[in-house]
């Protein structure tokens, strides 16, 4: 079962990306709202200040200085109720009237706007307020400052920035939680599908992936997948039927031929005739063996051979014991016990027998060693011989049907032995490869061990 880690899950990446995009759009929306709103507020304040400053400038023109000073004093009287800030200074910069202590040193911009902080004490409390003001040059060197408390705007900006921060944080938190949940859910479903698919692939024909019943895209996908399985099953069944009918037909013919050949015994009178009959029977048997080999390969490759729990260690041990007396002192074995695989005992035995037979046959009377070990989650069978080996470039060819490599021509064999091993390896989802034994050949067969638990998790829907 291949459980994809969360970091590698495409769903998790997608959820993260989605969260980031959501956060970015949150910044864009709230940022724009902030900029536009604060611009409107600012413009309103400026218009208010501008209008008042202009009115006062006109009053300065119309009235004498004393009454203008009075006017300013009046307006400045209760600044925090109306929020106005005023200051009038004479040509020499001397303070004439107003509610600001001194004309601030703040640099004024070219059109006379300044912004500054004042600290006022109110109810025995020092409060810092932010003021935006316009300094108007009156005639005769008088300067008038008219301003407004813009602390509210400042507060608004602060609140706005704060809420923007919270919004982003909330988006990230909920987005990540949601993304994690979503990817967990989808990857769990995917893992369940993948586990079921693996189980079906490793020999559970006729089984289908369970749908969740929600009718969503995943169900749709499972449906398509099941249609494919249906198709594979049909093809496999057809293949099996073809193999069976071919087997039935050819074996039937061969059986009649053998029966007829054997039946001729009653007609034979001379030694030469008997010899001829024996030869015919031998050839028929050879043909039968070849047919048997081909059909076994076809059977293994059709994937229809039923698999069960097999103690591969005991199979290798049996075969070692079976072959050991045929080459006394040549065959040795080291076999790790109790390696269980999901397999076909007879086909596995035949494959191991073929490997041992080959090693003894082509191993130039040198020792042959069988080694069965557990490597990770696999049973690894190695058959080492001391023969000429198989050159790198011929190794692929050696697995082909009826292919006999140079040097094999003088020895009995059908050229099907290794192709059967290859077919059996495929049936067991095993890896078959050759390596150098220096000198000689090592054939390595890696069969996946049977999983302890085969139960697939339910789709997390």
């Amino acid at each position: 079962m291949n459980r994809v880690s969360l970091a590698r899950s495409s769903i998790a990446r997608l959820a993260l990306l989605y969260t980031l995009v959501l956060a970015a759009s949150m910044v864009a929306v709230l940022g724009t709202a902030y900029v536009l709103t604060s611009r409107i507020i600012e413009r309103g304040t400026e218009q208010l200040i501008g209008a008042e400053a202009q009115g006062l400038a006109e009053d300065f023109q119309k009235n004498d200085l004393d009454s203008f000073v009075n006017l300013i004093v009046q307006r400045a009287d209760d600044p925090w109720v109306r929020g106005g800030v005023y200051e009038l200074r004479g040509p020499s910069g001397d303070f004439l009237a107003g509610n600001v202590v001194a004309m601030p040193d703040a640099k004024k911009s070219s059109n006379g706007w300044i912004e500054f902080e004042v600290t006022t004490s109110r109810h025995d409390e020092n409060i810092g307020r932010r003021i935006r003001a316009k300094i108007t040059d009156l005639s005769n060197g008088f300067h008038l400052l008219v301003g407004r408390d813009v602390q509210d705007r400042q507060t608004f900006r602060h609140v706005m920035l704060q809420s923007l921060g919270w919004a982003i944080a909330a988006t990230l938190v909920f987005g990540l939680i949601g993304g994690f949940w979503l990817s967990r859910r989808i990857s769990r479903t995917a893992a369940a599908i993948s586990a079921n698919a693996a189980r079906i692939a490793s020999g559970a024909p006729g089984e289908r992936l369970p749908t969740t019943g929600s009718g969503d895209e995943i169900d749709g996908l499972i449906g398509r997948f099941n249609e494919l399985l249906e198709r594979v099953d049909t093809l496999t069944a057809t293949l099996r039927a073809v193999i069976d009918s071919t087997a039935h037909d050819l074996r039937g013919h061969l059986n009649r031929i053998r029966g007829a050949a054997q039946d001729t015994a009653r007609l034979l009178t001379t030694e030469a005739q008997t010899q001829a009959q024996t030869q015919v029977l031998t050839e028929i048997d050879r043909l039968g063996a070849t047919l048997q080999g081909l059909l076994r390969i076809a059977l293994a490759e059709s994937g229809t051979a039923p698999l069960e729990s097999v103690d591969f260690s005991s199979v290798v041990q049996d075969l070692y014991e079976l072959y050991e007396p045929t080459a006394p002192g040549r065959l040795s074995a080291s076999i790790a016990p109790h390696l269980l695989v999901r397999g076909h005992r007879q086909l596995l035995a035949q494959a191991v027998a073929n490997l041992i037979d080959n090693a003894l046959k082509y191993g130039l009377d040198q020792p042959v060693q069988l080694q069965l070990t557990q490597v990770d989650q696999q049973a690894r069978l190695e058959v080492h011989d001391g023969g000429p080996g198989i050159p790198e470039e011929s190794r692929e060819l050696a697995l082909h049907r009826f292919r006999r490599l140079p040097g094999a021509s003088g020895l009995p064999g059908s050229g099907l032995g290794l192709s059967l091993v290859a077919a059996v390896a495929r049936l067991h989802q095993a890896e078959l490869r050759f390596a150098d034994n220096d000198p000689g050949l090592t054939v390595i067969l890696n069969i996946p061990l049977q999983q302890e638990t085969t139960a697939a998790p339910e789709p997390g829907h």
Partner: protein, 225 residues
């Protein structure tokens, strides 16, 4: 032996019937499943040779019905399908042995005789004796003329198999199936080598050999060759 042969391939059946008749058996022939079942149900046969695929009624179905009816007559299933998994189905259905076409007449008769003999037997005894050779499965002891013989576990199994089929021919494939439980052609002379090791153990140093080779068929254990 009275043998019922249920086989739709008339020519193959004819050769087989002739071969079996030559060996002294009496053959009754049915060409389809229904006729085969009717004859089998009527009884009176020592063994049935049954083709796996038959017109009208499948071979496996015939065995199932026979067994359901309580008939214990030994049934040898003949099949042109590969035995690797068909065999299991055949035995599960109630067949006693399974043979793939093309078969050797010697193989078929050896198996038939083994089946018929086993059928007549009461519960197998734990002690088997052939001449002065004794085998006891309870304490796993083998002795000849009172002299203890040391055997490996596999040699013991092989000897037990041969002694339980004493005076019958056992073929190499029967030995591979019966002793090792494998059903493939070992190609080389593996069985012969095991037999010769066993022969060393039980016959060497004794005047009268008990383990004999039957040319073209297999082996037999018997006081007379």
């Amino acid at each position: 032996m009275k043998i019922l042969l249920v086989e739709d391939d008339r020519r193959a059946a004819e050769y087989l019937a002739r071969g079996l008749t030559d060996l002294g058996h009496v053959i009754t022939h049915a060409y389809d499943g229904e006729a085969g079942l009717t004859l089998a149900m009527a009884g009176g046969f020592d063994a049935i040779v049954l083709d796996r695929m038959l017109p009208k009624l499948d071979g496996l179905e015939i065995v199932k019905r026979l067994r359901a009816d309580g008939a214990s007559v030994p049934v040898l299933i003949l099949s042109a399908l590969d035995e690797v998994d068909e065999r299991i189905q055949g035995l599960r259905a109630g067949g006693d042995d399974y043979l793939t076409k093309p078969y050797h007449l010697e193989e078929l008769t050896a198996r038939l005789e083994a089946l018929a003999r086993r059928h007549g037997e009461v519960a197998p005894s734990s002690r088997v004796v052939i001449a002065d050779l004794e085998l006891d499965t309870r304490n796993r002891r083998v002795s000849r003329a009172g002299r203890k013989i040391e055997l490996t576990a596999r040699e013991f199994q092989l000897l037990e198999f041969l002694m339980r089929h004493a005076h019958q021919v056992v073929t190499r494939t029967m030995i591979l199936e019966g002793v090792w439980d494998y059903h493939f052609d070992p190609k080389t002379n593996v069985i012969d080598v095991h037999i010769s090791r066993l022969r060393q153990a039980i016959d060497k140093g004794f005047e009268k050999p008990l383990l004999h080779t039957v040319r073209g068929a297999g082996y037999t254990i018997s006081e007379d060759p």
